[in-house]
């Protein structure tokens, strides 16, 4: 066996595992508390709310996962292109052809979105339906071929890591908790009559719906932070895999700082139109936090800070030169 220069980042793997473990803990705790509350109070109406929330949550989760490619394509206004659709498409196909051959993975569909923003994202529920979307802004930017290739390698890594599936499953608990809060809130508003009938069964206890609401809010908040953390780790993993695939970590670093520089410029696209796809963007469309330090913005963002990403890439570069 020849030696390998592609050592995995154990620290990153460990942190990612811990995050997913904590998400699992939150999930189990959430279910346990719900079962305990409902079991202790025998409340049929609350049980109904939980049941509906789980069903709707499942439907939403599975639906957005199953149609992730179509949803993303239409939200971004992107068109799937073949190599014959002009020079941009030919260039894109040429680069991705080689990268997929290098990585030994099936080639995803390629799409171009008409947008001046410099961005790229990958989506789709599996390798067959996955689609890689690139904006015209990115294709016509001052990124050279090496930098564009690095960006595409990063997106291909998202496909290879099945990040859409992982993030959908990870978000599931948050979706259910969020729905539960909403339903509990509405039933508080409109379900007053039903509750007074049952009050004799558990006299003096806090309204069950209120407890469910609080549990839902706490679960939602904690899982939200964990999902964002997981998302940042997945980005670092994709940076790493992409840089190792092309063997050019510095090209990715250069592309990152070029793209993030222009993302801070005033975009012409309506923010509301750009927001839903944010989690899968190469660089999120929102203005990033101030440099360094521990800030709330860092905690909430789907992508790691530019400094963190550049630091990892320079470590890989060093590793490749040895």
């Amino acid at each position: 066996m020849a030696k390998t220069r592609y050592a995995p980042d154990r620290g990153l793997t460990a942190r990612m595992t811990l995050t997913m473990f904590l998400l699992g803990v939150v999930f189990v705790a959430f279910i346990t508390v719900l079962v305990l509350i409902l079991g202790a109070t025998n409340r049929v109406s609350s049980g109904g709310i939980v049941f509906i929330a789980v069903i709707v949550g499942l439907a939403l989760g599975i639906g957005s996962f199953w149609y992730s490619d179509k949803i993303a394509l239409s939200t971004a206004g992107a068109q799937v292109v073949t190599p014959q659709d002009g020079p941009d498409a030919a260039r894109l196909h040429g680069i991705v052809d080689r990268l997929t051959a290098l990585a030994n993975m099936p080639k995803p569909r390629l799409a171009i979105a008409r947008s001046p923003m410099l961005n790229a994202f990958a989506t789709g529920r599996n390798e067959k339906t996955s689609v890689l979307v690139v904006t015209t802004g990115l294709l016509r930017s001052d990124l050279d071929d090496r930098e564009l290739e690095a960006v595409l390698a990063h997106e291909l890594s998202h496909v290879a890591h099945k990040d859409v599936a992982v993030m959908t499953i990870a978000s599931f608990i948050g979706i259910i908790a969020g729905l539960l809060v909403r339903f509990a809130f509405y039933s508080e508003l409109f379900g007053g009559g039903g509750r007074s009938n049952n009050n004799n069964n558990n006299g003096g206890a806090l309204p069950v719906v209120l407890i469910v609401l609080v549990v839902g809010v706490v679960t939602y908040a904690v899982s939200f932070l964990l999902i964002r953390l997981l998302s940042r780790y997945r980005e670092l993993a994709a940076d790493r895999a992409g840089a190792l695939l092309t063997g050019q970590p510095s090209a990715l670093a250069s592309a990152l700082q070029k793209v993030s520089g222009s993302m801070n410029a005033i975009p012409t696209k309506d923010l509301r139109a750009a927001e839903p796809l944010n989690a899968f963007y190469f660089i999120p469309a929102f203005k990033k936090s101030e440099k360094g330090g521990f800030s709330l913005n860092n905690l909430f963002s789907t992508h790691p800070s530019l400094e963190r990403r550049l630091q990892q890439l320079s470590e890989i570069s060093e590793q490749l030169s040895k």
Binding site: T13, M16, T100, V166, G247, Q248, L320
Partner: protein, 190 residues
Amino acid sequence: MGFLDTILGRTKPAQPNLDELFALPTAAITLEAGMDLKPTGIGSVCFRATEGKAFGDIEKDVRELLSMGSDTGSVEVSTDTYGYTWLTCKHAPDDFEALVTDLHAVNSSLQAGGFGPQLLCTLVTFTSDTVHRLGIVYLYKQGTFYPFAPKAGQQRDNAVELQVRGAVGADLKIEPDLSRWFAVWGAPGL
């Protein structure tokens, strides 16, 4: 990718499969017998150079090895528009085995240096009176071959390619997924 790799967001770099290359001389005989396609004596190895000194050192070693080792052959290095490096070996058209041996030497040097995952493809070219140029491309990661017959104006002669697939199907492992038969326009020797 295993389940655990997916969960942890890791990619194991795809390692090349080098053994299949030695099926090429047999296929060359079949091509000449069946379709009158003769080797041009030009073959090349395409790889993605990584940044840093380590890769440069190995590349230099490979070049020295090739230019020293063979008296008849010569070696050239070029970079294409996609940023990939092509090491082109030229031999006498009738010395096809020496060409394949040289190409294999490039592969094993890169792999021994830990850069196996950087190998993209190997290309050997053929020609005949009717077919101007035909490339047989070897995909390292799949361990499969496919034909590439360019025509003028970035068109591919699919008829010839499919005919070649039929002709050498018994000698070479042909890539079954047609969508992986990507074009290598302007590759050395084509």
